[in-house]
Structure formats: C-alpha cells, structure tokens
C-alpha cells in the first residue's frame, strides 16, 4: 500500500517533468513559424535551415523573429577608423499587407547607416546578395554608385554573445562547486551539485587518469574544461528560446578553435622523444632518407588528428540540428496539402522531433566525452618517455604509473573514510 502511494507521488513528479519537456519541444514548431519567411505562402526550406543554423547581428526575440535584441556591431572601415553602433540601426521592419488575404507580414529590410566622423561620411549596410550576403559592408562611393567593401568585423554577433553566456554558465557551475566544498568540507554534495560532481569524477577517473597516468595533474584542468565547455555549448544550442537557440558547436569556427587548442597543448608539451619519433622514427633507412616518406606521413598526422576532432564534433552537432529542423518543417510543407494530411503529418513530425531532440542530448554528451577522451589520448602519446633498453638490447617500456581500478578504489575509500571522520 505504501509502495503504491510512493509510486503515485513519484509518478506525478515524473509527469510534471515530462509535461515540461514536451512543452519545451512543442515550442519548436512555433519558433519555426515565426521565422518571418512568408513570401505569400512560398516556403523556402533551405533559407530557413541556414537562417537557424547561421549567425546574425541581433538576437531574435522568441516567437517573433522580426524583433531583435540589439547587439553591438564593431567594424573598422577601409581607412582604419573604428565604429561601434547597435545592430538595430542596420535593419528596419517593413510591414506589408497582402491585399487578397488581408494578412499582415513583417519583414526585416536592411537600411544604410550613415555616420559622420571627422567631416567624412561613412555608410554601412547589410549586403543583400553576393559574396558578403547578410554581412556588414561599407559602401564606398565609386564613380556613380557605390562599391562594397567588407570591413574588419569584430562585432558581438549572436554566436559570440552565446559563447559569453556558455562561459558564464560553466564558470558559475564550477565556482559554485568550489564554494560548496570550501564551506562544507569533504561532505558529498546533493542534488544539482551532486550530479555535477559525479560528472567530474567520471571524466577525471575513468578518462583522464587512466590514459594519462602520472601527468594527470598538469593536463586535467584543460581536459575537464574542454569537456564541460563542449557539453554546455551543445546543450545550450538545443534549447529553442533565449538564452539558447544559438547553434554554437555547429559552427566550424568554434570547433576549429577547440581543436587548435588541443593541437597547441599536444605539441608544446611534447617531449624530445615525441619529436624524435616524428622526425627520425625507428624504421628502416630507405623510408627516411633520401626521400623523407615517414617524416611527411608523421607531420601530416600531427595535423589530421586535431582536424578529425574538429570535423567530428562539427558534423555531429550540425547534422542533429538539421534533422530536427527539417522534421519540424515537414509540418509546414504538408500544410499545403489539406487538413487531414497536415494533422497526421503534425503528429508524426512532433513525435520524431522529440525523438531526435532526445537523441541529440545523448549525442552532445557522447561527443563531448569523445573529444575529451581523444585529446587525453593525444596528450598522453605526446608526453611519452624514452623506452629503456635492458641488458639484451630489447626494449622494455618503463612502468608507466597507470592507475588501475584497485588504486582508484582505494583512493575513493580513503576519501570516504575521511569524510566520515569529518561528519562524526
């Protein structure tokens, strides 16, 4: 009897969680329909997908994409002067009324912003087509018309603002955990902090300590940062509305920088033995000299390993987003075919969208874990020490202090005993 009551209480909590999740997912089609691409009923699928995946100068207000939260645009003109203005000044809302259907649609149209500085006039606008489509260009008078010049652009775009938000989130989580430990000593944290602690422990012991061994303490900060930052960026990109909605890891610039960091860490901390293995490996002479075949392969390998990290993360995240957006757009594509088909398509599409979004959550965790694991592996291969030759001339590997399960279990037990002492 008590079991049934407790199940029922648990159920109501689970049902409310499920309802919240469903509401969050059901927001997706509405966010999609507010895209403002409504050229008289024509649906440009590719345009909508790239708009959702790409970057922009203002942050869209959820469910009403024509209104944007203005963000600063910082550009350097052709003659070297810096300008900073709000992204709101570059576009204006154009309200058109369709005479036949009476529907009022609002579009964002680009507008030329004229700034006077030191007596000279500078014009900036968003390019409508060409190489610099939807980016800030400077219009420089050239004969009769203007020519477009793409200035040096370090504006705070939507992705940059989302990066700041992700950074603040990760820092807040980690600092919260540190403060908790400072106050409460070695007692195990509960609830939210406990889950975070579990993640840290999982990544540190099972991934970092077991591959790196003795140089764990040097590289654990970088690797743990990698894991939590990528995880936060992935999850934030899945939320539909502000502060989510910015597709961060689906942007190859972001993943490129992350892979570049791994590349830098691997090669800066590489030992002399590592570089010797690359430039004069232990292979027959004809592969090394006069044609440096092995050297070319090894040097190529230095670059392809981080490149693989970059492309793997980018493609996984972008693919997931594209699939979810396409499935949601199916509703609008089928809407033209009549009510019955549209209703059926809506149900199927929402179900599939939920499934793909949940899969995306799993994939974001897995991709963050794989990135960290492979970075740890590359670093461990770079910090390898010299093989030792024993008396017979055979190579023996020095005993790398690999932490096996027993050592880790002993360490955890010692910590638990200490915690019990503090408690008592």
């Amino acid at each position: 009897m008590r079991l049934l009551i407790s199940i029922k209480e648990g159920m109501s909590k689970r049902i409310s969680t499920l309802a919240l999740l469903l509401a969050l997912v059901a927001a997706f089609p509405f966010a999609m329909s507010a895209s403002g691409h409504d050229d008289g009923g024509e649906l440009d699928v590719k345009e909508i997908i790239f708009e959702h995946l790409g970057d922009g100068y203002g942050w869209e207000v959820p469910f009403a994409h024509v209104y944007r939260i203005p963000l600063p645009v910082i550009v350097k003109s052709e003659d070297g002067k810096w300008f900073c203005f709000s992204s709101d000044d570059l576009t204006e809302i154009d309200v058109t009324e369709n005479k036949e259907t009476g529907k009022v649609t609002k579009h964002l149209v680009p507008v030329v912003k004229i700034i006077k500085k030191d007596g000279k006039e500078y014009r900036f606008t968003l390019a409508k087509e060409g190489d610099h489509k939807d980016k800030v260009v400077e219009l420089i008078p050239d004969g009769n018309g203007y020519r477009e010049y793409r200035p040096l652009d370090i504006s705070i775009t939507k992705n940059v603002a989302a990066l700041f938000i992700a950074t603040i989130l990760v820092t807040a989580m980690v600092m919260g955990l540190v403060r908790y430990y400072r106050r409460k000593g070695l007692r195990a944290p509960r609830k939210g902090m406990g889950f975070f602690e579990m993640l840290v422990s999982f990544v540190y012991y099972d991934t970092i300590k077991s591959t790196l061994g003795e140089s764990t303490k040097r590289f654990a900060p970088y690797l743990l940062t990698c894991f939590f930052f990528i995880l936060t960026m992935n999850l934030v990109g899945l939320i539909v509305i502000f502060p989510g909605g910015a597709n961060l890891t689906g942007n190859i610039a972001v993943t490129l920088v992350l892979a570049f960091m791994t590349f830098v860490v691997t090669n800066i901390f590489g030992t002399k033995h590592y570089w010797k293995e690359i430039f004069w490996p232990d292979v027959p002479l004809f592969l090394k000299f006069p044609l440096p075949i092995m050297q070319m392969i090894e040097v190529f390998g230095i670059f392809t390993k981080p490149a693989a990290l970059c492309v793997r993360l980018f493609a996984n995240m972008m693919g997931g987003h594209i699939i979810v957006i396409t499935l949601t757009l199916l509703i609008f594509i089928f809407a033209a075919f009549g009510a019955g088909v549209a209703g059926g398509a809506t149900v199927i599409s929402v179900l599939f969208s939920i499934f793909m979004l949940l899969l995306d959550v799993l994939v974001s965790f897995i991709q963050a874990y794989v990135f960290t694991l492979l970075s740890a592996l590359f670093i461990s291969m770079a910090v390898v020490k010299e093989h030792e030759h024993n008396a017979e001339g055979d190579e023996t590997y020095p005993q790398k202090e690999r932490c096996d399960r027993q050592e880790i279990a002993e360490e955890k037990k010692a910590l638990a005993d200490l915690a019990k002492e503090v408690d008592a």
Binding site: A308, A315, V370
Partner: protein, 84 residues
C-alpha cells in the same frame, strides 16, 4: 571533343548526383561498421555479464568514432554540392 562537350555542360546536376551517392555510401558503411560493433558487444556481454558496464561504454565510444568518419564523408558530399 570530350572536353568541349564537358565545357558546355553545367556540372550542377552531376554534382548533385555525386553528393547524394556519396552520402548514401557513407550511411551504408557506417551502418555496417556500427552493426558489427553492436553484434560483438552483444556476444561479449552474453559471455560475461559482469563486464557489461565496461563493454557498453567502450561500444558507445567506438560507435562515436565510426560516426565521425561517416560524417567526414557527409561533409565532403555537402561541399561537392557547391560546385558551380
């Protein structure tokens, strides 16, 4: 003669065909590869149920690596679509 024909021909439809074929082949290859991992993981767990946790995590990690390779092919196919 072939080169003059090719010069006149727009490569856009062939690029589309190439991209679609490339992505389809990548999907087949990824499916086969991950299927093999899945089957050997099942067998290993059946032989030794107490190692199920280890085997499961290894399986997921290796599946992610194979998916990475398949997604390289998808990226290349997407790039092929932008041939003019």
């Amino acid at each position: 003669m072939l080169s003059t024909i090719l010069a006149e021909l727009s490569l856009q439809p062939i690029a589309g065909l190439g991209a679609a074929l490339g992505a389809a082949l990548a999907a087949i290859a990824a499916g086969i590869g991950i299927g093999k991992i899945g089957s050997s993981a099942m067998e290993a767990i059946a032989r030794q149920p107490e190692a199920a946790g280890d085997i499961r995590s290894s399986m997921i990690v290796i599946a992610a690596l194979i998916e990475g390779v398949a997604l390289f092919a998808v990226i290349v196919s997407a790039l092929a679509l932008f041939i003019k």
